[in-house]
């Protein structure tokens, strides 16, 4: 009875907290937990106590899970590491587990006091790493594989799991390409881009299903993320392994009473840097100054009498919140984990934001004495996004600061007929963009131990993304007024579906010092993409928004569009891998995947992707003498061939589609024509990668690291070639011709400089160097000297921004070299061919948008209950085109507004793109600073309770003059800081994690 009262008291405290802080719905769960808790503890017969500590430091470990094996009975250790558990019998076994430590089984053997020491995982090389169709211990791995576990994850208001990894892994770049836009994704690249036109995105595998969508996961559900970096590790995923593989494993429930984890975050944001344009006062000053020297310009600069800070008008201080609740538990043979996630994120630009729910369930069932294991995973998410037109930023720069936001009658002030000049506030507020996405994923996996060393698995899954987007431009909005129409609405709906079936058969055997594992498997995936869209214009009222498309008149008159499409493709693969190790000293792995894709030409659908890697752990060799200091000193070498099929389906086929109407005997009738040049010989793009590396740890894991070097050659690059018309139908054809080389080295260093009873300090550092060279773009049939990419834009500039050419690296910026100004303020560029005029021949290489170095530094400091994490991230050696400066750092842009720096500019010539606007963009960001406090959980009735404050992007150290030097590094036009962009922000997050 006494216990019940204590529990009741806890319940009261908890409830109060929960009510006060978050949501009332939790109460129900809490009640059920309490009952469950009491029930579970009531079963006990014998009590066992002791202290759990860290084997490497002797520090007591709080929060360690202690479970009686085969039952749901258990507890967790207190802040001083002590525990007390009531067990059914003194002959039972305890299972002791804790994040970051090896799980240990302790037989009670009649004892009543048992002190337990746990071995940290990081030291031993024994922690399990997911490698694709299996797991290996860290020591056994012979390819290049990095793992990140939750304690290393970035904190803050994370909605996309890739944010967890920013700056953590050498070779993995996660780049914010669109500043603080909550609806924007990250650019993820492993070892850079190894393709020109085919996909460069790494393959994501979630719980064994290739091609997963990270946005469907609740970040709190992630158990570990393993990254297959090199070809020898990724080749088991054959066709899509070229860009590396990111393997995500989600958390499962543990047998025992229900465990509740709650995490809540509230975030606000602040503009990191704003654009320094003329204020209304400066604009007036300039006008009066120019009225003497340049009356023409001065007279065109109208003073409308207001003082408006347009940038301020289009931005706000947003508030976002993210909640996650997870329940887990189970019985001896059945465990579960269910989680709910809710995020409401506001963007710093008016009207931008998103609202999302995600729900995930993992169920595990063990049958036939553990021989048959069933795993069921289900997830749904619902996302509502409000995307905005980044043109608002350009408009906010160019709008005359003396213009009022609203006119006398309270309507938005618009200048109809002015060229690309619309009220920036209207761009954001007088449009409705509602994009809705529903994601579903579900899979069932079964593994069966046919014999003790023979296991068969099968996994079938389905993922679908359905979207329904709505857009409305009301009759009073600028584009409608300009066009003289009354409302334009559109809707788009569609679905992408992936069906997966995979099966494996695995045999393993240990004979004395020999250990062999052989796996073979089959994989089938089918991808379907279909959709429908329609738009209409001319509505009788704005009241319908996009909800009554048929009531407009344009569709009926044939002036609005409507369409639908469907494509599908298939991938079928057979794979096998042999791993062998001798005495934990020599390791060998060989794999092959024979895979076919429906996307390629009739004779080239199938490809074979082999890989082999080997490792030697010198620390286990007596003669080296390394075993004294080193826990691990492993030399690795691997070679693997992977493929890329990231192109549209059907390219090899000759297809026809509607080509527009033509006049035939008194009426317009539709014509049909070929869609593209067919190339029945189209085939796999392949990449060969050599990787060598050293992994080492010493001083019981307090110092460790890895060094890698890789060289990856991509051949038969999938690329669109310029071909003559005739004989070809179109000016470009997809073909496999060129080759490119990427090479680089990666260094990571993990240290624990201080490790005492009260103070623990961990520092992790990683840096990578990337080098790209395009080797050739031509063969006998297709020739290409170079290709220009990108467009600087209007008004007035017809120039590309980038060029790629054999012997150069992708991402090279190409344009005039600025040399100065004439006395009249006209441009002087390098006249490379001395013909006294500036022609395309005078353009040259003036930078490169791909960083040479990426680095990340994380320091984690724990002092008593306090913790502080600091993460710096940097990119170096690249240049960025400061696009805004081309027009707005030039006084000829007047009477449109200009930057303050242009006030005294000597330029009197029209905007031109040159090296003047290409700036070094090396930067270091204080990307994450988190201060946390772990509450004395036991005293307030929690298993774990922590509050924290996170700031991101707090400090930017750079010589770059624009808003943010962190822009896209991939694709063919990296390093463009566009004038139409989304401002970067600093974020401040207050969060709490509770579990009980």
């Amino acid at each position: 009875m006494g216990k019940r009262q204590i529990v009741g008291y806890r319940q009261f405290r908890n409830r109060k907290l929960v009510n006060a802080l978050f949501m009332g719905g939790l109460v129900f769960l809490l009640l059920s937990m309490t009952v469950d808790h009491v029930f579970a503890q009531g079963q006990g017969k014998e009590t066992i106590e002791g202290i759990v500590s860290d084997a490497s430091t002797g520090e007591p470990l709080p929060g360690v899970n202690i479970l009686v094996k085969g039952t749901s009975v258990g507890t967790s250790s207190n802040t001083d590491g002590s525990y007390e558990v009531t067990v059914p019998s003194l002959q039972d076994t305890l299972v002791v587990s804790f994040v970051g430590f090896q799980t240990q089984e302790v037989t009670i053997a009649g004892r009543r006091t048992i002190d337990i020491t746990l071995q940290p995982q990081a030291i031993s090389g024994e922690e399990l790493v997911v490698v694709g169709y299996g797991t290996q211990t860290r020591r056994e791995i012979s390819g290049s594989v990095s793992s990140v576990t939750p304690e290393d994850f970035n904190e803050g208001a994370v909605s996309n799991p890739m944010q967890l990894l920013q700056g953590k892994v050498a070779g993995l770049s996660v780049v914010n390409t669109n500043g603080g836009d909550p609806t924007s994704d990250f650019e993820v690249r492993l070892r850079g881009s190894s393709s020109l036109n085919a996909s460069s995105e790494p393959l994501v595998v979630i719980d064994g299903i290739p091609g997963g969508d990270l946005n469907q996961l609740n970040p709190n559900d992630i158990e570990s993320i393993d990254i297959l970096k090199d070809g020898s590790a990724a080749a088991i995923y054959g066709t899509r392994g070229t860009n590396g593989v990111i393997l995500v494993t989600t958390k499962k429930g543990n047998a025992g009473s229900v465990q509740v984890e709650y995490s809540g975050k509230v975030q606000t944001q602040q503009i990191q840097r704003s654009i320094d344009v003329l204020s209304a006062e400066q604009y007036r000053t300039l006008k009066s100054r120019l009225s003497e020297s340049d009356p023409d310009i001065a007279s065109s600069m109208t003073d409308y009498g207001a003082s408006t800070d347009w940038f301020n008008e289009v931005t706000r201080n947003p508030v976002s919140n993210i909640h996650s609740l997870a329940l887990s538990g189970g019985m001896e043979n059945t465990t579960y984990r269910a989680s709910l996630y809710y995020a409401n994120q506001q963007g710093v630009m008016l009207s931008s934001g998103q609202n999302e729910y995600r729900g995930n369930i993992n169920l595990q069932q063990s049958n036939l004495d553990g021989r048959l294991q069933l795993d069921l995973r289900l997830g749904v998410s619902d996302l509502q996004e409000n995307t905005v037109d980044y043109d608002a930023i350009r408009q906010s720069i160019k709008w005359n600061p003396t213009e009022p936001v609203y006119n006398e009658s309270g309507e938005l002030n618009e200048k109809l007929g002015a060229w690309q000049y619309q009220n920036p506030v209207g761009v954001l507020t007088e449009r409705t963009t509602d994009d809705g996405t529903t994601r579903f994923h579900g899979d069932l996996a079964a593994s069966l131990k046919v014999l003790n060393n023979l296991e068969v698995t099968a996994q079938a899954g389905m993922q679908s993304n359905k979207w329904l987007n709505g857009y409305y431009e009301p009759s009073y909005s600028y584009p409608q007024e300009v066009n003289g129409t009354h409302g334009t609405a559109s809707r788009a709906a569609g679905r992408t579906t992936t069906n997966t079936f995979e099966s494996t058969i695995e045999w393993s055997r240990d004979i004395s010092s020999h250990s062999v594992d052989l796996i073979g498997g089959y994989s089938y995936q089918k991808f379907t993409d279909e959709g429908f869209d329609a738009e209409n214009t001319e509505f009788i009222t704005d009241g319908f928004s996009y909800n009554n498309l048929g009531s407009g008149s344009y569709l009926e008159e044939g002036q609005a569009g409507m369409g639908s499409y469907k494509t599908e493709s298939k991938l079928v693969g057979y794979f096998s891998r042999l791993t062998y190790n001798f005495d934990q000293r020599y390791f060998l792995s060989a794999s092959g995947r024979y895979e076919g894709s429906s996307k390629f030409g009739e004779n080239n659908k199938w490809g074979f992707f082999p890989a082999v890697s080997a490792a030697w752990d010198l620390s286990n060799e007596e003669f080296t003498g390394l075993s004294e200091q080193f826990d691990l000193f492993k030399l690795r070498v691997g070679f693997g061939i992977t493929g890329n099929q990231g192109i549209d389906p059907y390219i090899p086929l000759q297809r026809l589609n509607a080509s527009g109407y033509f006049y035939y005997q008194g009426e317009f009738i539709p014509g049909y024509e070929p869609v593209s040049n067919p190339n029945p010989n189209l085939q796999w793009e392949t990449k060969e990668e050599l990787n060598v590396g050293i992994d080492w740890t010493l001083a019981s894991g307090r110092l460790g690291g890895a060094i890698e070097y890789y060289r990856r050659d991509t051949k038969d690059l999938l690329h669109e070639y310029d071909v003559p018309v005739p004989p070809n139908l179109y000016e470009t054809t997809w073909a496999n011709v060129g080759s490119m080389r990427n090479s680089g080295f990666e260094v990571s260093l993990n240290t624990v400089p201080v490790q005492t009873r009260e103070l623990n300090w961990v520092v992790d550092f990683n840096i990578e160097h990337r080098k790209n060279e395009l080797l050739t773009l031509s063969n006998d049939q297709y020739q290409l000297e170079y290709r220009n990419e990108g467009a600087i834009g209007s008004p007035g500039i017809e120039a590309w921004s980038h060029r790629y050419e054999p012997g150069r690296s992708i991402g090279s910026i190409h344009g005039y070299r600025y040399e100065g100004l004439t006395e009249d303020g006209e441009w002087i560029f390098s006249d490379l061919n001395d013909d006294d005029q500036y022609t395309p021949e005078d353009r040259t290489y003036i930078g490169n948008g791909v960083p040479d170095f990426f680095a990340g530094l994380t320091s984690r400091l724990n002092y008593k209950n306090w913790d502080m994490t600091v993460m710096f991230r940097g990119m170096f050696g690249h240049q960025v085109i400061n696009h805004k400066r081309i027009w707005y750092d030039n006084p000829t842009t007047l009477p449109n507004n200009i930057m303050v720096s242009a006030m005294d500019s000597e330029i009197r010539d029209d905007p031109r793109f040159s090296s003047l606007q290409v700036e070094d963009a090396d930067f270091v960001k204080l990307d994450n600073l988190t201060l946390g406090y772990t509450l004395p959980a036991e005293q307030i009735g929690f298993r774990d309770a922590r509050v924290f404050l996170t700031g991101t992007n707090l400090l930017l150290i750079t010589g770059y003059s624009g808003l943010d030097p962190e822009v896209a590094t991939g694709g063919l036009t990296p390093g463009l800081d566009d004038r139409q962009d989304y401002p970067s922000t600093r974020t401040f997050t207050l969060g709490v994690n509770l579990s009980f």
Binding site: L368, W419, V456, P724, L729, I797
Partner: protein, 514 residues
């Protein structure tokens, strides 16, 4: 144990069944695989569509029309403040200092050769159809005629181009043929298909390459034969022109502007037209859009045009000033204060004080930095009430007035460059309708010289993309000079083969002087 065995066997059977699929055939849904097309008459006709819809690229200002026009004294696209610099391309077009990488020249080339390739492809595909309907037979001849028309343009603009006449057996990288060879091909093809082309002039042949379009092309070919091949063919030109005139199918409209009206299908003067419609002809890169390219940003309001215009090209100042003030044809150039149809004055915005009225000037102060209001704006086709992105006005490639003026020119050239009375009659016939009191403005054998004939052609045909062709023939293109243009080397009489094309086809030979 029994349960275990049962589970194992079930499991393995399922695996075996599911793991056996390796079918990688492709299901095409929203396109049609080619082998499943050409099954019905309707589908065959639809397949012929691209041959005609491709012709719509002819009026592109960033393409064939613009390259032919903006390089002459008739029109100019000056840089206006920050607008229309386009890396100097339009300035170079006007000054004849263009280089081989100009984007618009490449577009023109692509449009022409896509047209050629489409006709080659369709001729091949229709050739495979064994039982041809009458309609299909006729279209096959039209396709050959269209191909000859495209090659005529190619030889006119680029001179030496690859002659590809087969779809299946074409070289992967076709080599350049001489201008003479291309000339011979165009001549042979046109003369061979003419008897088989329809001679009707009615709604069934409207917008199609009928016999009179073929004769008009042949006439242009022969008239310029001396430029193209070095040997004049005026007699042949005369026969081709007479074939059209003697057919009696065409006559001059009483009102010059009737030919360019919004609904101009009824024109008795337009011979070969490209039909446009703002609802049906909506592909970017092949719409009829001079209104967007020439009117000032707010100038759209003067003609009740739905969307704002782009404020680009204008009339060449000397050319616009060269008209007789009484010449009604000068009205194609908009000048002076612009007002809405209701009479409200339009105002400048942006770079000029916003309280100043929008005034189009005849003069243009600078090719590098003109104000946005400078230059007369071309409104030959009626822009009134233009909806969406394309005019509804059908574009006339050949007009009967041009045929008459060509005949006059042939007669004069056969007469040593001197007017004959028949030539005077022909020119006066065209000129007289442009004046309220024509009597005062008529030519005589004394006043009609080659120079005045060229000028007359300019006034009559301004904005119809024949100016470059005329100037070259009169030796006034490269060697001529006007407001923004000084004489340049004769090699500028043809355009360079676009560098982009040479990059993808090394067998192409660059024209001399580039």
């Amino acid at each position: 144990m029994k349960k275990l065995l049962l589970t194992i066997s079930t499991f393995l059977s399922i695996l075996l069944v599911f793991s056996s699929c390796n079918d990688l055939s492709q299901n095409v849904h929203s396109d049609i695989a080619e082998q499943n097309f050409y099954e019905t008459e309707r589908q065959v006709l639809a397949a012929a569509g691209p041959a005609y819809s491709g012709l719509r690229t002819y009026t592109q200002i960033a393409g064939i029309w613009g390259v032919q026009e903006l390089t002459t004294d008739e029109t100019v696209l000056p840089t206006r403040g920050q607008h229309w610099y386009n890396d100097g391309m339009y300035q170079r077009y006007q000054r004849h200092t263009w280089h081989a990488e100009e984007g618009n020249t490449n577009i023109a080339w692509n449009d022409i050769f896509s047209g050629i390739n489409t006709t080659n492809r369709l001729l091949h595909q229709f050739g495979e159809i064994e039982e041809k309907s009458e309609a299909l037979e006729l279209i096959t001849y039209e396709l050959r005629g269209l191909r000859a028309f495209w090659y005529f343009l190619a030889l006119d603009m680029f001179g030496n181009v690859p002659l590809v006449t087969s779809y299946e057996e074409a070289d992967a990288a076709p080599a350049t043929n001489s201008r003479q060879e291309v000339f011979n091909f165009v001549e042979e093809e046109l003369t061979s298909v003419i008897p088989n082309l329809s001679s009707e002039v009615n709604s069934n042949t409207y917008g199609r390459f009928h016999r009179w379009a073929a004769y008009a092309t042949l006439a242009k070919l022969y008239l310029n034969a001396e430029v193209y091949t070095g040997s004049p063919r005026y007699g042949d030109a005369l026969s081709a022109l007479n074939a059209i005139i003697d057919s009696g199918n065409y006559s001059l409209e009483d009102n010059y502007f009737a030919n360019f009206a919004v609904e101009n299908q009824g024109s008795s003067e337009n011979i070969f037209v490209i039909p446009y419609d703002h609802t049906y002809t909506t592909e970017w890169g092949s719409m009829h859009q001079p209104h967007f390219w020439t009117l000032h940003f707010v100038g759209n309001q003067a003609v009740n045009m739905q969307y704002g215009a782009w404020g680009g090209f204008a009339g060449g100042p000397e050319f616009v000033q060269s008209y007789d003030d009484a010449d009604e044809r000068k009205d194609i150039w908009l000048t002076g204060v612009q007002t809405t149809p209701a009479g409200d004055t339009l105002y400048n915005n942006q770079e000029l004080p916003s309280d100043s009225a929008l005034v189009y000037t005849e003069s243009i102060s600078s090719l590098e930095n003109a104000h946005k209001n400078e230059g007369a704006r071309l409104m030959k086709y009626d822009y009134t009430g233009a909806q969406e992105w394309s005019l509804d006005n059908d574009y006339a490639i050949y007009r009967y007035a041009d045929i008459l003026l060509m005949k006059a020119e042939v007669l004069m050239r056969q007469n040593g460059g001197n007017a004959t009375s028949e030539a005077v009659t022909l020119v006066n016939e065209v000129r007289s309708r442009a004046f309220d009191n024509p009597g005062e403005h008529m030519y005589s054998t004394g006043s009609l010289t080659m120079d005045t004939l060229l000028a007359e052609r300019g006034w009559e045909l301004a904005g119809e993309a024949w100016r470059r062709n005329d100037l070259v023939r009169f030796d006034e293109f490269a060697s001529g000079s006007w407001t923004f243009k000084s004489p340049v080397d004769e090699t500028r009489n043809i355009f360079p083969i676009p560098q982009q094309q040479i990059n993808s086809n090394p067998n192409l030979e660059q024209n001399p002087g580039y």
